[in-house]
């Protein structure tokens, strides 16, 4: 058995919301005045039906039929067994992975792009805006908007717009309007262009333009869309883990020992892991491992605290694992894994001990990715290689212990647009950049004077 497929009528019909089951309540994001941020504060950028999901405490949220009808185009995604990798590692472990690279955009991102577009449409929104660099999220959202009849405006950083034609073309094929940023369409863009007409742009400018277009639409028919970090994004991704549970049950794998996902903003990891975190809360013995780069050890080495979002200390405070706002991570080739702070839901699961974060080195990731490509065939995205590195570690451990463990992980996307990173690795141009202890301590000192979040936990795990 290599692939386990579900029929369309077996697809999960509800998303799972971990917030309902966390043994301790989530700490709310705080504004500069120390009070919780209200849903109304987000209303200019998100429709209220998505904001309701963002703050929901309901355990199960029904997936609309119209959303499912689009997801069926690639979902349920295959659960595959990595038999060739198992043989190469001579491990008794059975390694399963959800192949999220089969989506039209090539990653897990459409799992939230589609429902976000649908809920916006239900709210009466006619256009979505977003920003993008090389274009992974911009193409996923363009795809979703095309299928739902929404306009999509993607502000693509000018240097990327000029250097990376393929995802730009993907967006256009899907009907998205891809604009080089800075543009003359927004005040933020015009201000920048007035200072430097030849500026190559930046993600910060592109975000400013996308948000400005949504906020200043006099008709109120435009909103902004974000592909990671927030609770409703992770909620939408739980379809990955929910499908996996059904698929494992279908082949008689009733006990999963280890669940692994790479952890950047959190949605990739949350998608595969949160349904199993629920099992763990209810007594199951499962090791659930978010994997992060050793160069940016947000979960593995940093204290849990309220951290200011910026140096000026003016933006709201969010409870999260943090290295402090003076932290600078070393270079790695995995853009999605560079968030300063982890998503609050993932942070709280870590505080409770429900998940066991792990850090891996960049070179180990690429070595594991090459082993994967040369055994299983698919070329993984750099972010996905972090999960694969941890899978290899666990499979070897199982061999050494002589245990037939069941390992499940999220193969979150292909790396066909990231081959230059592989080239750099194979050419010997990459190194490992673990965060030195003195740098960590220096970073931690920057948050010493700030209010500390209470690390509330039951002590059960």
């Amino acid at each position: 058995m290599i692939k386990v497929l579900l029929d369309e009528n077996e697809i999960p019909r509800q998303w799972y919301n971990l917030a309902a089951d966390l043994p301790t309540a989530m700490l709310p994001p705080l504004g500069p005045d120390g009070n919780p941020v209200t849903p109304d504060a987000l209303a200019p950028v998100f429709p209220m039906n998505l904001i309701e999901q963002e703050v929901s405490q309901e355990r199960w949220i029904t997936i609309p039929e119209e959303v499912l009808e689009i997801l069926y185009k690639w979902r349920p995604s295959p659960l595959c067994r990595a038999t060739s990798l198992e043989k190469a590692l001579k491990t008794p472990a059975r390694i399963y992975y959800k192949n999220e690279g089969v989506s039209p955009a090539g990653s897990h991102k459409p799992n939230t792009a589609v429902p976000q577009a649908w809920y916006n449409k239900q709210f009466g929104i006619e256009k979505l805006t977003t920003e993008t660099g090389a274009g992974q999220w911009g193409s996923a959202l363009s795809f979703a908007c095309a299928l739902l009849g929404l306009k999509c405006k993607v502000y693509m950083v000018r240097i990327s717009f000029e250097q990376k034609p393929f995802r730009k073309l993907m967006m256009r094929v899907w009907g998205g309007e891809c604009v080089a940023s800075p543009s003359t369409l927004t005040k933020a863009g015009r201000d920048i262009l007035a200072k430097d007409p030849n500026t190559p742009g930046s993600l910060g400018i592109a975000i400013s333009e996308a948000v400005e277009e949504a906020v200043t639409d006099a008709g109120g028919k435009t909103r902004y869309s974000l592909g990671s970090v927030l609770n409703h994004v992770m909620l939408h991704q739980t379809i990955i883990g929910l499908e996996a549970k059904k698929q494992l049950a279908k082949i008689g794998e009733n006990k999963v020992d280890i669940v692994i996902g790479c952890a950047g903003g959190g949605s990739n990891f949350a998608g595969i892991a949160f349904p199993f975190v629920a099992d763990k809360i209810n007594g199951a013995q499962i090791d659930i491992i978010p994997v992060e780069p050793s160069s940016c050890p947000t979960l593995t080495r940093a204290p849990f605290a309220y951290d200011h979002g910026d140096v000026a200390k003016m933006t709201p405070l969010l409870p999260m694992y943090s290295l402090g706002h003076e932290f600078v991570s070393p270079p790695i080739h995995a853009g999605g894994l560079r968030y300063h702070g982890m998503a609050p839901l993932v942070s709280q699961a870590a505080v409770e001990g429900l998940i066991t974060p792990r850090a891996v080195d960049q070179l180990h990731c690429y070595e594991s990715a090459l082993m994967w490509a040369r055994t299983e065939g698919f070329i993984p995205a750099p972010e996905t290689s972090h999960a694969i590195a941890a899978v290899v570690e666990e499979a070897i451990k199982a061999r050494e212990e002589g245990k037939e463990k069941v390992i499940l992980f999220n193969w979150s996307g292909h790396g066909l647009m990231d081959l230059l990173g592989y080239d750099a690795f194979m050419s010997g141009k990459l190194g490992n950049y673990p965060l030195p202890e003195e740098e960590l301590q220096r970073s931690i000192k920057s948050i010493e004077g700030l209010p500390k979040a209470e690390a509330r936990k039951t002590g059960r795990w």
Partner: protein, 87 residues
Amino acid sequence: MVEVSENYDTLEARCPMLGHLVSFRYCRSLDRLPCRRLMQCWSSQIDVRAYLEGRYSAQEIAAILAPPPPKINQLLELVRKAKGDAL
């Protein structure tokens, strides 16, 4: 390691945020100040701290090296700014 005195504007590295190669010139001239990821992305090729200390004040270097705020914080700040600009 390239010495500070050398011109390394044409050197290239992969920008993890954009997802493709960029020149050092792009990173050093991103905005009023260089990209906040200058040190993490370029330290393997050049002496970034020496480069910064030769061109910027301690306060500017601290501002350069500060990491980005979380997304939700960025969004709320941008909403406030966009609303203010629209008035």
